[in-house]
């Protein structure tokens, strides 16, 4: 079975919430000798992109997405190198869910993808006030803060992070990445909350963070 067929099968397991079936597909690919990076790029990434599309079209429920995303996270964990074997050479970033938001799944996936790509990720968790994001970013020298929100009402709390960065004249040195399902449905919300950019899914996070880091003058 080629990578495209395996990706189709993985996508089907995501929709059907067949977590063990997903694990078998990934194990099969790895044991057949496919390199983990290829499993991520050619099996997992296309499945996640399709998943995101269905989510944007609202043809799946919150709960179904929750289960499917969990399977994606399992797959990633099977494929990325262990923490102490990774080279974290892209610099520090801070991520978390904004105040009042408790939907951790997307953020955790983004964190995993970023770590796999070589970022030093400081994940603050759920329900994080603006001050904590900015203070942590200053403490660890992060070039990007990534803030996640699932719903429109909670996404609007991200404006407080923007205001704080501007008040402290940090807008040139720390960029604000925003993400979460609601930004895919409502792209105009990125500007409304003062975000410097967004990615449609965890797969695009590395590219976004690299772009934002370069805008701070970092390489």
């Amino acid at each position: 079975m080629n990578a495209a067929e395996l990706s189709n099968k993985l996508f089907a397991t995501m929709i059907e919430a067949d977590r063990s079936g997903a694990a078998r597909i990934v194990e099969e690919a790895l044991s057949d000798g496919m390199p983990p990076q290829q499993v991520i790029a050619e099996i997992l990434d296309p499945a996640i992109v399709r998943l995101g599309k269905q989510w944007e079209e609202q043809t799946m429920s919150l709960a179904q997405n929750y289960v499917a995303s969990k399977i994606a996270e399992d797959t990633l964990l099977r494929c990325i190198p262990k923490k102490d074997e990774r080279s974290l050479n892209k610099g520090a970033v801070v991520i978390g869910n904004i105040e009042d938001d408790f939907h951790s799944l997307g953020r955790r996936s983004v964190g995993l993808f970023l770590e796999a790509a070589g970022w030093e990720v400081h994940d603050l968790g759920n329900d994080i006030p603006a001050e904590q994001f900015v203070e942590k970013a200053q403490e660890v020298g992060a070039s990007v803060i990534g803030v996640s929100a699932m719903m429109q009402t909670t996404a609007l709390n991200i404006r407080k992070v923007r205001e704080l960065l501007d008040q402290r004249h940090l807008n040139g040195s720390i960029k604000l990445a925003v993400g979460g399902a609601v930004f895919n449905w409502r792209p105009e919300l990125v500007a409304e909350v003062g975000g410097d950019g967004t990615a449609h899914n965890a797969v695009g996070a590395d590219e976004l963070f690299l772009r934002l880091r370069s805008e701070t003058g970092g390489r």
Binding site: E16, A17, D18, R19, S20, E57, Q58, T59, S61, L62, A63, Q64, Y66, V67, K70, D100, F102, S104, N126, D127, M151, Q152, T153, T154, A181, V182, W185, R186
Partner: protein, 202 residues
């Protein structure tokens, strides 16, 4: 135009809304949509939009008793200039923001009375979660099932025990005072009345 308030509500709160009317805490007309519409967000938005389109012809004070349950629900609130309860979901409406935060930090999975009776249908049929997957997922993200007892129906001990066994999580009951929900409802009604005045001045 009717002067009374129309409350367009998620069916998950039917008993609680009817109880508040019985107690004379709120007045007006109650309309409910099936809570299972949450399993199909597009359909939920379509049904809410259709109801609002119809209600706006006949009622001047409309309150949407829904959380942030779809990507475009807030657009509907703006479009029809109605009030909406200032919460992210129905559980937060019942317990209030501070208590909701404490429960989330504890890793609680909040079970509403109507939902408790349908847990099997939702978990098995709608989500396709077999026992093993349900236990993996819930165990990773949650620590306890908390049934929000609004005091209207008997605590469904048998269903909660079965849900607990299915998910592998312990369960407990917490009492909920409907006055917390009432406060949000009245705030939303006040918002709707303000919108009314604004409309009349245009």
């Amino acid at each position: 135009m009717s002067c009374g308030t129309v409350w367009l509500c998620c069916g998950v709160l039917r008993n609680e809304m009817e109880e508040l009317v019985r107690r004379g805490k709120i007045g007006g007309e109650l309309l409910f949509l099936d809570s299972m519409l949450h399993m199909d967000p597009l359909k939920l938005e379509e049904r809410v939009a259709a109801a609002l389109e119809r209600l706006c012809e006949t009622s001047d004070t409309i309150v949407l008793v829904y959380g942030d349950c779809g990507a475009h629900l807030l657009d509907l609130v703006r479009k029809y200039r109605i009030g909406r309860v200032p919460v992210i979901n129905c559980a937060q409406l019942l317990v209030g923001r501070a208590r909701y935060r404490r429960l989330m930090q504890e890793g609680a999975f909040l079970v509403l009375p109507e939902w408790a009776l349908r847990w099997e249908q939702i978990m098995k049929s709608e989500l396709g979660l077999n026992r093993s997957v349900a236990q993996d997922l819930m165990g990773e993200h949650r620590g306890v099932l908390v049934y929000l007892d609004t005091g209207i129906v008997q605590v469904p001990q048998r269903q909660l025990q079965a849900f607990s066994s299915y998910t592998g999580l312990p369960w407990r009951v917490e009492a909920v005072d409907l006055d917390v929900m009432l406060e949000s409802l009245l705030a939303a009604r006040a918002e709707s009345l303000t919108e009314n005045s604004a409309r009349e001045q245009i």
